[in-house]
Amino acid sequence: MPMAPASRGDVDVWDRSEMEPRIRHILERTVRLRDTGPYRPKSDAEVMAMLSTFFAAKGLEEFSISDVERMSGGASKEQFAFTLNHREDQQGERLVLRMDPLEAIAQTCRGREGEIQSIMGNHMPVAPVRWFDADGDLLGQPAVILGFVRGVTQPSEGGSAGVSGMGGRLGSLIDRLAPQYIDALAVTHRFDWSRAHLRFFDAPRAQSNQAAIWQVNWWSQVWWDCLVEPVPVVALAERWLRENAPVCDRPMLVHGDLRMGNFMFEEPSGKFTAVLDWELAHIGDFHEDIAWTMQKLFGAWGDDGIFLVSGLLPRDDFITQYEAASGNRIDPVRLHYYEVLNAYKCAVMDLGQAMRAATASNNHQEVVLTWLGSAGAVFLNYIVQLIRKG
């Protein structure tokens, strides 16, 4: 393993100020608000009051909110379904309020999620974005309001979904789901973000290691801000990631969390109804998405004993089909780097942010956070294996 001081590239790999400005804002806000907890899960009545204030401020007239229903799923946001009627829409629409608890396993921006999801709705099936409140100015806490999308993330029969969609099996629908999954990745990476006039995103420089260092600085700041108990290999991984940061030739839109559990489909057709959870989206190196979806924890074993990426395709088939659909060539060295980065990110989320949120009682489902935290060592194991492989 190379441990010489880093010197390559036009970004100082140890400059912790090298971070996307909106991400810095979110991380600083997290620390600033942390001590205002503990967070109490919202009641239906509280949600109705928040939404009433919001829709009044948005100028909706003669509106009513009904059938408020708390939703499960995910490990991050507090979610409620509800029906909104107003003068311009007497028939009403079923909507989803997706809002930040005080702290979650990932601290992200509803403005970024709302903005990119709204745009990507022109390119692939996503839940339509109706409104977002990036800093919670009107709702009291940051949130996005989405159209309700029908579908499942695991087959109703024999899906055996685990926490947050991990460890499930997609059964007989694999052949219909896999091409749509590849297409979602390829369309995301082909998207021309430079013409999109994004308000909540900044892009790292091309032909630079800035894309990698922005990610390392994001997640290492989360780690040090949240630290409950030091883990030596997490510090070692940070050092390795700085000293081995690769150049990104051409920054692309990265979904950040595309995997089993984060796409929804209808039964029995298997047709995608929504690509979910755009909260980790950013402009960066597409290898990050490829490495993310290839993680063992997000895959499944087929009946023949072969490991399936995201429960869908053997690794080699996945790479071949992705390259054909996207036009991108996967570089094994960069893929390896982003495998380490993703294992690091997951360890930071599970053993850092989740544990801090649970310790501070700043979430609506701490039992989920500690459950996921109990899997954190899986990623420590990956980090060792990957660094040794490199």
Binding site: A6, M71, G162, R239, S374
Partner: protein, 170 residues
């Protein structure tokens, strides 16, 4: 007979699974999910609690070993803190989970500082990196075995049970 810990854990799991969960409406999915996870946590705690002190002792012993390995190659300005944390760990009350946890955290901070090499990012000797990776593998395997019952580990079938894992460290 006083109600012991195992009995109370078993009672709580039964109450959750046979009384509380069936009483929760099917559409209250978050409440149902959380109730099931509470039962899962209780089941794991039931397996772990008798070994908790031993587990913490083993974890501290291993981290102390790593700290001793790193000490000779650590930059002088970091070695003092590492040596102090080691001394604190050696003096800590090994019958107290809390004291051991605190010693673990203190050594952990000092080890982190050595890994990052201070503001100059002093390089780590390759032998020290190898020792660290060896330690990290043991640490990960220990924690994965400790939480094997969560069934989230893709390689859970390769892991020993708690008793075997702790016996391996003797």
């Amino acid at each position: 007979m006083l109600p012991d810990i195992d009995l109370r854990i078993a009672n709580m799991i039964k109450a959750l699974e046979q009384v509380i969960l069936p009483a929760l409406p099917r559409d209250q999915r978050l409440a149902r999910d959380q109730a099931m996870l509470v039962a899962g946590h209780l089941r794991m705690i039931g397996e772990q609690w008798k070994s908790a002190l031993r587990y913490e002792q083993v974890a501290l012993d291993d981290l102390q070993g790593l700290a001793r390995d790193l000490l000779p190659g650590a930059p002088a300005f970091l070695a003092d803190d590492l040596a102090a944390a080691l001394a604190m760990a050696e003096a800590c009350d090994r019958a107290s989970v809390t004291a051991i946890e605190q010693a673990n955290i203190a050594i952990g901070h000092a080890v982190d500082a050595v890994i990052l090499g201070g503001s100059d990012h002093a390089p780590m000797p390759s032998a020290a990196v190898d020792r660290l990776l060896d330690y990290a593998l043991r640490h990960a395997r220990r924690e994965r075995s400790w939480f094997k019952a969560n069934r989230l580990d893709p390689d859970q079938n390769d892991l020993p049970d708690l008793v075997t894992m702790l016996a391996e460290t003797n």
